[in-house]
Symmetry: C2
Subunit: 344 residues, 2 copies
Amino acid sequence: MKISIIGAGMMGSALAFPGRENGNEVCLIGTPLDTDIIKACRSTGRHPKFERNFPSGVKYFQFEEWEEAVSGSDFIICGVSSFGVDWFLNEVLSHSASDLPVLSVTKGLIDLDDGTLISYPEYWANSLAQKSIKRDICAIGGPCTSYELVFHDHTEVAFCGNSMQTLKMMKQALATDYYHVSLTEDVLGLESAVALKNGYALGIALTIGLCERENGEDCGLHYNSQAGAFYQSAREMKKLLRLQNATEDCECMGLGDLYVTVYGGRTRLIGILLGRGLSYDEAVRELNGVTLESLVVAKRVARAIKRRADKGDVDINDFPMLMHIDGLLCGEVDAQLPWDKFTF
Amino acid sequence: MKISIIGAGMMGSALAFPGRENGNEVCLIGTPLDTDIIKACRSTGRHPKFERNFPSGVKYFQFEEWEEAVSGSDFIICGVSSFGVDWFLNEVLSHSASDLPVLSVTKGLIDLDDGTLISYPEYWANSLAQKSIKRDICAIGGPCTSYELVFHDHTEVAFCGNSMQTLKMMKQALATDYYHVSLTEDVLGLESAVALKNGYALGIALTIGLCERENGEDCGLHYNSQAGAFYQSAREMKKLLRLQNATEDCECMGLGDLYVTVYGGRTRLIGILLGRGLSYDEAVRELNGVTLESLVVAKRVARAIKRRADKGDVDINDFPMLMHIDGLLCGEVDAQLPWDKFTF
């Protein structure tokens, strides 16, 4: 098969590995923000963020060549970040055949005015429908750090979409003996599970920083508080996913993803900094001003839940951790968690 | 209030801290196996396994003095390991007032001939009922490492029992600003959640050893596989807890407990050793031949599920991780997880 990956971020680029290892033709196409990355891939055969070369035969393209590069593809992988969602809609989805399947790695949710949370596949499909284009977008979710996938660590993820036939084709192309793929038609459930975990991963990471604040930065890792925060995160995610009509399998994918994200990169780091006592602005400055996608989605979810609570759909008291994260990101509260609110 | 802790293991002993800090009279009473520990506590004011002294005023007793020591107590804390369950039944429960409340830290489940899994509180109550003694036993469950509790880390646990009034009394005695206590009448649910996590914590730890086997012992920690195993553990625990009619809050306590146990002591260590490729016997030898309670309960649960599958109550294919752990502990299979069986 032929697979075209649009967006040379780490997750999309990592999928070039199983794709190419399976013998497929793989094209990695940068967005206009990826010109340096694509140059580096062309000259070194390696993505600047990875510690292994791409499998031989992967082809690299700058965005201006995208339409020729995509031509003849069996499907596209959308590798943009959530900040590129509208760009991808306008530049790629609106200018490619509507029957060309798309598999997206973009994580996040959009909160509508009435507090409903929708997935990016739904957002794209709705936007295209307004132009009388019918197009379904598939997505990937589950615990998968890109660099560990490149390392061939055993990884469990799920592909979601409306057409099981399309999903099976994508699984055929990408699954390997280390990349294990489940399939589900529960798009909103899977996308919600993987988006919701972000705020909660921050909450768990807060306890690490709080422990350092309490006991000194050389106190080592303690786990009671992380686990207590994990317990509460699981409780809140369960309720939120019920609102999203998620299947249990998707909920479990979200829990696995929560686990891997606590140990991941910047969400963990910012949680630790906030836990130590830095303000939100100070913490972001430490991360060189990079706005974290994970925090954007946490804020959107909090906003949606508050709106739903105003309407009487949910009880805000069911979400003390989410509300705490929201208050923290707005600079309103200290990092220390409201532990007594987690008891039943 | 007056609290008597019977059994000077780490978890029971740790509860002396919040108990005494709340101004209660606290007696720590060893079992016949604890004579050296009680001597050490008396002479040093510190439990040999902890890095902090007990709060001043805690009293220590050898078992021969237990009846005088217990006299006047508002409740007893049972701090024996699961190997002491019958000893506690015969020596303490059968020789103390049946209206003297008991709060047990003993973790585990018992599998009956028909594959039903019951809690120790239920086992004790049933055994006493056969002697026409009516006595309800309460228990504690949730993510709580004893040494971190002693360190005053924020900790979330639940007390379970048949009488909310009794539970409230125990919470009043023990809850502090760092020890946060939920209450539930779902005894089987809570006890099942905290017992079931043991085999699964081993499964997750296996992936750490397997990664070392694959990449060398200095490969550092990778998280995709741990998270993939966590995802599958959550799926299986959810189904097992449904069999036990557990509430969702208890399920979440179990997930938090699973999280803390992966990072705990010997279950993690034995999982890593098995993952590296040691046989079960070799791994146990490395741990100085100590039989792990956690493995005993994992085997009992596997045995119960196989029996229920034979009867047609459950589908054995829903529990590939549990069956794998069972096979591994019986020396039948290599540690490598059946990753493809975890997909849906």
